[in-house]
C-alpha cells in the first residue's frame, strides 16, 4: 500500500528549496540592487549638469547639493524629523484603519449576496468621488486637526483593499468551501480558515495599492490644511520660493514611499510562501 514518490523536483520546491535554474540578476540580490540604482544615479548626474551649466536658474532648479544642504539645514533645526515623523505617522495610522475597514467591508460584501446587493452600489459611488473633493468637507466636519488628515488617508487606503478582497472572495474554489462546510465550518471560522487564506495574494496586492494611495491622499490632505508634514513643506516652500526644500520634500516622499512598499514586499514574500 505504498504510492510511488512524487518527482523529486516537485518535492523539493514544496520544501522551499531553490529551484535550479534562475535568471542571473535574481540569483544575486546585490547585483540587482546596484543595477536598479543605475538610472537614479544617471538622473542625479543629469540634474546636476542641468542646474550647474546654467540651463535653469537656481530658483527654477537648484543643484542636488543645494537640496542636500537644505535638508541638512532642516535637520539641524530639528524640523525635518518633525515633518517626516508626522507624515509617516498619518500614513501608518490611516493605512491600518482604512485597510482594516476595507478588509472587513470587502469580506462582508464579497460573501453576502444581500450585502453586495444593498450596500455594494453605494460604496461604488463613494469610490468614484475624487480624493480632493473630500478635503473641504472633512475640514468642515472634523476640523484642522490630525483626525481629518488621518481620515482622508484611511479613505484612500480603504478602497483598493475593499475592491480586491470583495472581488476575489467571489471566486474562491466552490469545492473547497463545500468541503469545509461539510466538516462543520461556517461563518467567521470558514472565512478565516478557507476564504481569506485562499484570497491572500489578492489581499496583499490590494494592501500594496492601498499603501500607495495612502501616501497620495496624505499629500492631498497636507497640501490643503496642515501646519507640518511633507505636504505642508511643499506649499510652504512654494510660497517662500524655496525650490530646494520643495525638491527635498519630493525626494523624501519618493524614498519613504519606496521604503514602506519594500517592507510590505517582504511581508508579501513571507505570506505567499505560507499561503500559496
Amino acid at each position: 500500500m505504498r504510492q510511488p514518490l512524487p518527482p523529486a523536483e516537485e518535492a523539493e520546491r514544496a520544501d522551499g528549496a531553490p529551484a535550479p535554474a534562475v535568471a542571473a540578476p535574481r540569483r544575486r540580490p546585490l547585483l540587482r540592487a546596484v543595477l536598479g540604482l543605475l538610472l537614479p544615479a544617471a538622473l542625479l548626474v543629469l540634474w546636476h549638469v542641468l542646474s550647474t551649466a546654467g540651463v535653469f536658474s537656481a530658483v527654477q532648479l537648484p543643484a542636488p547639493l543645494a537640496v542636500l544642504e537644505a535638508g541638512i539645514g532642516l535637520l539641524a533645526g530639528g524640523d525635518l524629523w518633525t515633518h517626516v515623523g508626522i507624515s509617516t505617522q498619518r500614513v501608518l495610522i490611516g493605512f491600518v484603519v482604512g485597510a482594516g475597514l476595507g478588509l472587513v467591508a470587502g469580506s462582508f460584501i464579497g460573501l453576502s449576496r444581500w450585502g453586495s446587493t444593498l450596500v455594494g452600489p453605494t460604496i461604488g459611488a463613494f469610490r468614484a468621488v475624487p480624493s480632493l473633493a473630500w478635503v473641504p468637507l472633512l475640514l468642515l466636519w472634523i476640523g484642522l486637526g490630525e483626525d481629518s488628515k488621518v481620515t482622508l488617508v484611511a479613505i484612500g487606503a480603504f478602497f483598493p483593499v475593499y475592491t480586491t478582497v470583495s472581488a476575489a472572495l467571489q471566486h474562491v474554489d466552490r469545492n473547497l468551501i463545500e468541503a469545509a462546510r461539510a466538516f462543520g465550518l461556517h461563518g467567521l471560522r470558514l472565512l478565516t480558515t478557507v476564504q481569506l487564506p485562499a484570497v491572500m495574494p489578492s489581499v496583499i496586492s490590494g494592501l500594496r495599492l492601498a499603501l500607495a494611495q495612502a501616501w497620495l491622499f496624505l499629500v492631498a490632505a497636507e497640501l490643503l490644511g496642515a501646519s507640518m508634514g511633507l505636504g505642508w513643506l511643499l506649499t510652504d516652500s512654494q510660497n517662500n520660493g524655496r525650490t530646494d526644500r520643495l525638491l527635498l520634500a519630493i525626494v523624501l516622499l519618493a524614498v519613504l514611499g519606496k521604503i514602506s512598499d519594500a517592507l510590505l514586499g517582504v511581508f508579501e514574500k513571507w505570506a505567499v510562501k505560507k499561503w500559496a
Partner: protein
C-alpha cells in the same frame, strides 16, 4: 479512535469510536427548476442502510447518485421525502456524517497533517487531536508525508489524506462520493483494499457512490442500482442486490462474475456474456 489493531488506544480517551448509524432514505425525490418546467432527477428512493453496512449506490452518470449522498450529508435538501440518520431527520450539515469527495479538496496552503486536523470534532483537546491524527495518518500510510503540502504528493496520497480527514470526524456515517473515480486503475484497487482496512478498524456505516461495478462488488454488502425508465424520466431504485462472501473478496470469483453480468444488464450495458445473448 479505533485504530487499536495498529496502535494501543490512549487509555483516557472515551471510546466513542464504535459509532455506526442507520441511514434511511424515505421516498426521497429531487427536482431542479429548468426554465419554466421542473426537471425531476430522483423520485421515490426508499432504502435503508443498516448500521455498519457498506452500501454501494451504483448508477450511470447524472442519475442523481451524488444528490442522494449530499442529501444525507445535509449539503443539499431533498425536494420530496426525507433522510433519517439513527432515526432523526437530517437538517443542515450533519455532524454525524463525514464526506470524502471525488477530488481530494485539501487546503493547498496546509500540510497533510493540518488538513486532517480540519476533520476533527470541535472542542477536542489538542493532545487527543494530535494522537488521533497520528493514528489516522498511520492507518492510511501517510506518516512519512505528514508535513508535505498537498501539491507535493500524488493523487492517490491526496485521496488518502481526504479519507483520513473524513475519519477524523469520527463519523457514524461515512459518505464517499466516487472517492476513487479520478485515480488510475492500479491505485484504485489499492485504495479499495485500504477502504476495507479502514472499515475493519472503524466499522462505521459507509455509503459509497460509484459507477464502477467491480468496485461495488468488491466493497459493498449490498448494492443499490439507480436507473430510469426513459430518457427524461427521473431515476429511481431499479434493484437492490446483496453481495455474498467475506471481504476481501476474490476478484476472480465466478459468483461475482455472475453478479457483474446482472448489474451491467440493469445499467443497460451489454456484458457480451453467452447466457445473456
Amino acid at each position: 479512535m479505533s485504530t487499536s489493531q495498529l496502535s494501543p488506544a490512549p487509555p483516557t480517551a472515551p471510546d466513542t469510536s464504535k459509532r455506526a448509524f442507520a441511514v434511511a432514505f424515505e421516498h426521497v425525490g429531487k427536482a431542479f427548476p429548468a426554465g419554466r418546467e421542473t426537471h425531476h432527477v430522483l423520485q421515490d428512493v426508499d432504502v435503508t442502510a443498516r448500521p455498519g453496512e457498506v452500501l454501494a449506490i451504483l448508477g450511470p452518470s447524472g442519475c442523481g447518485k451524488s444528490t442522494l449522498l449530499r442529501a444525507a450529508a445535509g449539503l443539499d435538501t431533498a425536494s420530496a421525502g426525507r433522510v433519517l440518520i439513527d432515526g432523526t431527520p437530517v437538517a443542515g450539515i450533519d455532524p454525524r456524517c463525514a464526506v470524502a469527495f471525488q477530488e481530494p479538496r485539501l487546503l493547498p496552503w496546509r500540510s497533510v497533517r493540518e488538513n486532517v486536523r480540519l476533520g476533527l470534532p470541535r472542542g477536542l483537546p489538542r493532545p487527543e487531536g494530535d494522537a488521533a491524527i497520528d493514528d489516522l495518518l498511520r492507518l492510511v500510510g501517510l506518516t512519512a508525508h505528514a508535513d508535505h503540502r498537498p501539491r507535493a504528493i500524488s493523487g492517490g496520497m491526496a485521496q488518502r489524506a481526504s479519507l483520513a480527514r473524513a475519519l477524523a470526524r469520527n463519523p457514524g456515517v461515512l459518505l464517499l462520493d466516487e472517492p476513487f473515480g479520478a485515480l488510475d486503475a492500479l491505485t484504485r484497487l489499492q485504495m479499495q483494499d485500504l477502504l476495507l482496512t479502514i472499515h475493519a478498524a472503524q466499522p462505521t456505516t459507509v455509503l459509497l457512490v460509484t459507477h464502477d461495478v467491480d468496485e461495488a462488488l468488491q466493497l459493498a454488502d449490498r448494492i443499490v442500482v439507480l436507473g430510469r425508465t426513459g430518457p427524461t424520466a427521473p431515476a429511481s431504485i431499479s434493484t437492490v442486490l446483496a453481495v455474498p462472501g467475506e471481504r476481501p473478496r476474490d476478484r476472480a470469483s465466478e459468483v461475482l462474475a455472475e453478479l457483474r453480468v446482472q448489474l451491467l444488464g440493469h445499467l443497460g450495458v451489454d456484458a457480451h456474456h453467452p447466457a445473456t445473448r
